[in-house]
Amino acid sequence: MSRNGPLALLFHTLFVIFMLAPILVVCLVAFTPEGFLSLPTQGFSLRWFRAIARYPEFINAFWVSLWLGAVASLIAAAFAVPAALAIARHSFRGREALSALFLSPLMIPHVVLGIAFLRFFTQTGLSGTFPALLIAHVVVVFPFALRLTLAAATGMDRSVEMAAVSLGAGSWTLFRRVTLPLILPGVISGWALAFIQSFDELTMTVFLAAPGIETLPVRMFLYIQDNIDPLVTSVSASVIAVTMLALVLLDRFFGLDRVLSGHGDRGR
């Protein structure tokens, strides 16, 4: 394959700068020693990272986000595994409609979902509670868990299961000893992607968040609405660092382009 010419590499360089500049500037400003927004030209300082400790609402929001993401993704994965097996394995009337319904949170604007959830939970008296937030997040991240599990289930060699049955495995043994282990990479990468989606979700959550159960993106958003100062950059930089870590792990284990384009099975 021929290589890129100088013009292509110039374009590529500018493109990468365009993509990274806003992220880099956030990370740089976070290290400013000044009391206002500026690049750390006079040396780096951690004062704004230390300052986070004085704002318990950010710390609290971080834990809310972490728990919410972990639990919501786990529940979503638990719902997704049987659904994915059904869609991958069976042909039945309404199968297409069903998978469209399960993927619909990707198509419906999150602002609409936020409004619908707010209305629903207000009517049912759950508004402003953690369970309400949890249920909403399960639904919103469900498509991510489903798609990667579905890809794994579809890519699986059915004759492996037939072999297990012919050797005497009952349906529960079959699932536990053969099917689940084989689709596990897809389930785990689905869980991880779902977690990141939940961790970053703002638009829908902003309708449901209440004092005490604000997620980190909501806290950051509301803070920025009032004023932009170095504190919010250090919080953002921390979020970016955590995300990058998850990203590198996800890429190492599953291949980022595969995870993001919804092909959860690991090649080979």
Binding site: D157, S159, V160, M162, A163, A164, V165, S166, L167, G168, A169, G170, T173, R177, V178, P181, L182, R268
Partner: protein, 349 residues
């Protein structure tokens, strides 16, 4: 009593008929091949015996019990899949042990039997390998060991050798036949490879578009094909249009310049079918007049593409060191009457 009995087995997928009225009885210890091109219904038949597909009609009985009443996981059959279907997350030994675990065989006996099974297929030192780290041939052996270790009443092989290269395939054929003979396990093999079917089986079931074309020993199906399909599917064959001339006494069969005494039971136009290796070059004035169009050297034999009075013909001659006709040379083709098979022309037997 027949060990395995397929009685009018039929499978339809919607309007499509995959298998129609298949009757077959298999004796204990017998090795039977289902042979045919893809889509002929052979794999469907195997899947119905295994229980992965339900029958549309008919019944399958194993030692007198109707298999429809037995769940696939309780049939106790050993199956080797085309893809091997090894459990990728288990080692070779764990793969082989799986069926024994399901049967709650005690751990000590299990280990013993797994070891013996792996040794039997020549994989004694590979117990802790994962399938991913094994060659195709080794994976194939693990699959065979896994199917045999449960001492199945019936062994089903679904194109087990088709993913191996030619040389390895030949080796595995010999090995498979030895193992099967030693254990005496009744075996059904599904294959599209006529050489494999002939070299392994006691009997061959030739299938086409869901129907049985012929059931017989390898020699019977090769030497006395019951139909044009069988003749063509089991190796190359030459077909000449001929006629029975009843005017002379005794009647003679004539194809171009070739003629021979006619066998009983035929009249009018017939199709003469002769295997390429059964045709020889005769002296002037005898046999069918022909001309060598192309001559190809293939090591242990020569292959001649000839133009005869009755259309093209292929002749295969052993490379015995003798001089062979050159391209363009006029030749005479002859064969012994017992080496040909006759069919009434234009009629599908």
């Amino acid at each position: 009593m027949a060990f395995l009995e397929l009685d009018g087995v039929t499978k339809r997928f919607g309007p499509h008929v995959a298998v129609e009225q298949l009757d077959l009885t298999v004796a204990k210890g017998e090795f039977v091949s289902l042979l045919g091109p893809s889509g002929c219904g052979k794999t469907t038949t195997l899947q119905m015996i295994a229980g992965f597909l339900d029958l549309t009609g008919g019944a399958i009985r194993l030692e007198g019990r109707n298999l429809a009443e037995i769940h696939p996981s309780r049939r106790g059959l050993g199956i080797v899949f085309q893809s091997y279907a090894l459990f990728p997350h288990m080692t070779a030994a764990e793969n082989v042990a799986f069926g024994l675990e399901m049967r709650r065989v005690p751990a000590a006996e299990r280990a013993e039997r797994v070891e013996a099974a792996l040794a039997m297929v020549g994989l004694a030192g590979f117990a802790d390998r994962y399938p991913r780290r094994m060659s195709g041939g080794q994976q194939q052996r693990v699959a065979l060991a896994r199917a045999l270790v449960i001492r199945p009443s019936l062994l089903l092989l679904d194109e087990p050798l088709s993913n191996l290269d030619a040389k390895l395939r030949e080796e595995m054929q010999i090995e498979l036949r030895q193992i099967q003979r030693n254990l005496g396990t009744t075996t059904i093999l599904v294959t599209h490879d006529q050489v494999e079917a002939m070299s392994l089986s006691d009997r061959i079931v030739v299938m086409n578009t869901g129907r049985v074309e012929q059931i017989g020993t390898p020699q019977e199906t090769y030497e006395r094909p019951a139909s044009a399909f069988v003749a063509n599917f089991l190796g190359k064959t030459n077909e000449f249009a001929g006629t029975i001339e009843a005017g002379t006494q005794p009647a003679r069969i004539v194809a171009g310049s070739w003629s021979a005494p006619a066998p009983a039971g035929f009249s009018g136009p017939v199709t003469v079918s002769v295997r390429p290796e059964k045709i020889g070059f005769a002296g002037a004035g005898q046999g069918l007049a022909a001309r060598v169009a192309i001559r190809i050297f293939q090591g242990n034999h020569w292959l001649f593409q000839c133009e005869t009075e009755c259309g093209p013909a292929i002749v295969i001659r052993q490379n015995d060191g003798m001089a062979q006709p050159a391209e363009g040379e006029a030749v005479r083709l002859a064969w012994r009457p017992e080496d040909m098979s006759l069919r009434a022309a234009g009629v599908r037997p």
